[in-house]
């Protein structure tokens, strides 16, 4: 479970203080997917960095699984905007990086990664460099790297924003399947309303800057196979759009 309590964050720049988040409060139950949506610059990435322990809150607290977050947490995996794959490492080395940093032997790395890469349709690409992959393939490598650490929390920042519609929906499906198998507590940032409604069991609409919670919507149907064709899906999309435009 993720709990965010009275959270503030401020950037300090040469031009002065830039408040990025003001008084955020929300809870993501264990095993659920929560989607953050909001206009550009409203602090979604900042919030994700705070959840991942890469930034420290100016005020307030973040608790994950009964522990207060003070820095990067072993079982939290992150996928950042624009992938974060290292251009100088091959697909295999990129995917294995987390395991290598945790000092697993190359045999242990192979045992964990081979089935993961195969499951994500990346077999045979192990020796390629990221510049030799398509956008969708890159993103699957990033997913493989995140899952290799066997996380219980997965944080993703616009993971599919650079992809065409079909690839995007394919990967959304992949994510739903991973979610059904592993029951990760997931926080996903997106600009895309349909993506938010398809994936988010809970949808948090932010406004800003500076970022504040505008609405929290429950979404029972998230991840259901034919959800995209259901009337509730379209109704909810319309509602999110209305809230965003208000």
């Amino acid at each position: 479970m993720i709990r965010v309590i009275n959270l503030d964050y401020t950037y300090y720049t040469a031009g002065g203080a830039v408040p990025a988040l003001i008084n955020l409060n929300f809870t993501v139950p264990a095993g659920q997917t929560c989607v953050l949506i909001g206009p550009s610059g409203c602090g979604k990435t900042t919030l994700l960095y705070l959840l991942g322990g890469l930034l420290q809150p100016a005020r307030g607290e973040i608790w994950i699984g009964g522990e207060k977050i003070k820095g990067p947490r072993q079982r939290t995996a992150m996928i950042l905007q624009d992938y974060g794959l290292l251009p100088w490492k091959t697909v295999w080395e990129n995917a294995a990086l987390g395991l290598a940093l945790r000092k697993l032997t190359s045999r242990q790395q192979r045992e964990r990664l081979q089935p993961l890469l195969a499951g994500l349709g990346l077999s045979g690409l192990e020796k390629r460099y990221p510049s030799q992959l398509s956008g969708g393939q890159k993103q699957r490598v990033a997913i493989a790297r995140a899952l290799s650490l066997e996380p219980d929390v997965l944080l993703m920042d616009e993971p599919f924003s650079a992809l065409d519609a079909l690839t995007r929906e394919g990967l959304q499906q992949t994510l739903v399947e991973i979610q059904n198998q592993r029951r990760l507590t997931t926080v996903l940032v997106t600009h895309n309303i349909e993506e938010a409604v398809f994936l988010g069991r809970q949808i948090i609409v932010l406004t800003g800057p500076p970022g504040q919670v505008k609405a929290v919507l429950a979404n029972e149907g998230a991840g259901r196979e034919d959800y995209r064709f259901a009337p509730e899906f379209h109704q909810l999309c319309t509602r999110v759009r209305q809230i965003l435009q208000r």
């Binding site: 991942g52 322990g53 890469l54 950042l80 624009d82």
Partner: protein
């Protein structure tokens, strides 16, 4: 075969250069500019053991100072690029020293250190260490924060970040800085070898001039050009081996 075609195009430009040289030598028709054939002939004559010995000494001086500049400039540049506090101390220093003509310090170094290798290498070092330091620092500054954050989120500490992200991110730029420095290093080497002493290809060239042995002089010039070319190719090879992700 693109490799084959590349080799051919290099051969063709080499041939073109020699043809151009031959053309110039023919129309100028002055013993001060012998053509390529007489020059090659005297290269064969003076090569062993005289010119070869001078070439070894010159190569040692260039490579030694380049290595020294890399060993000190790269770590300093990386640290300055990643730690603004260090940079705020280093940047003004580099900035103030940049316009000082280091070659002008050659006489000072000679008084203090004598006319051995150390003097020449020190001056070459002073000329090129700036270039390497600044290029490395700028490369380290420009690393996308997302790369560092994503690796930090995997649990990487400071040292792992340097090993996995910062050093490889800067490596191509560092090698480019090395290539650019190589040109400056050879120019300064030549000057330093013509000022005093009796060793090195620079000395050999000047000695040819004074003895009016223009064949030997041109043999020396060719040897120096060849040294530059071989070192340049070696740096390309190093890049090919160390930066496989940059190969096409």
């Amino acid at each position: 075969m693109p490799d084959c075609r590349r080799a051919l195009s290099y051969l063709a430009s080499l041939f073109f250069l020699f043809a151009f040289w031959w053309f110039l030598a023919t129309i100028i028709n002055n013993p001060g500019l012998p053509g390529p054939l007489p020059s090659l002939q005297s290269l064969v004559e003076v090569w062993w053991p005289d010119l070869a010995r001078h070439l070894c000494i010159s190569t040692y001086r260039v490579l030694g100072s380049l290595a020294l500049a890399l060993i000190t400039g790269v770590p300093l540049g990386l640290l300055a690029g990643r730690h603004p506090v260090l940079d705020s101390f280093l940047a003004p220093l580099v900035y103030l020293l940049y316009p000082v003509p280091k070659v002008a310090l050659l006489p000072v170094a000679m008084v203090l250190l004598g006319i051995g290798d150390a003097t020449r290498m020190l001056v070459i070092y002073l000329v090129i260490v700036n270039q390497i330091l600044i290029t490395t620092r700028d490369a380290a500054r420009q690393i996308p924060p997302q790369l560092l954050l994503s690796v930090a989120s995997l649990g990487a500490g400071k040292i792992s970040l340097y090993r996995q992200v910062i050093i490889p991110a800067c490596l191509p730029e560092i090698i480019t800085a090395g290539r650019i420095s190589l040109g400056s290093a050879i120019s300064v080497l030549f000057i330093s070898e013509t000022i005093a002493g009796n060793s090195g290809v620079g000395y050999f060239i000047l000695d040819g001039l004074f003895r009016a042995d223009f064949g030997a002089m041109f043999a020396g010039i060719m040897a120096m050009a060849g040294m530059g070319l071989v070192l340049y190719m070696m740096l390309n090879l190093v890049e090919y081996l160390l930066c496989p992700w940059q190969r096409q």
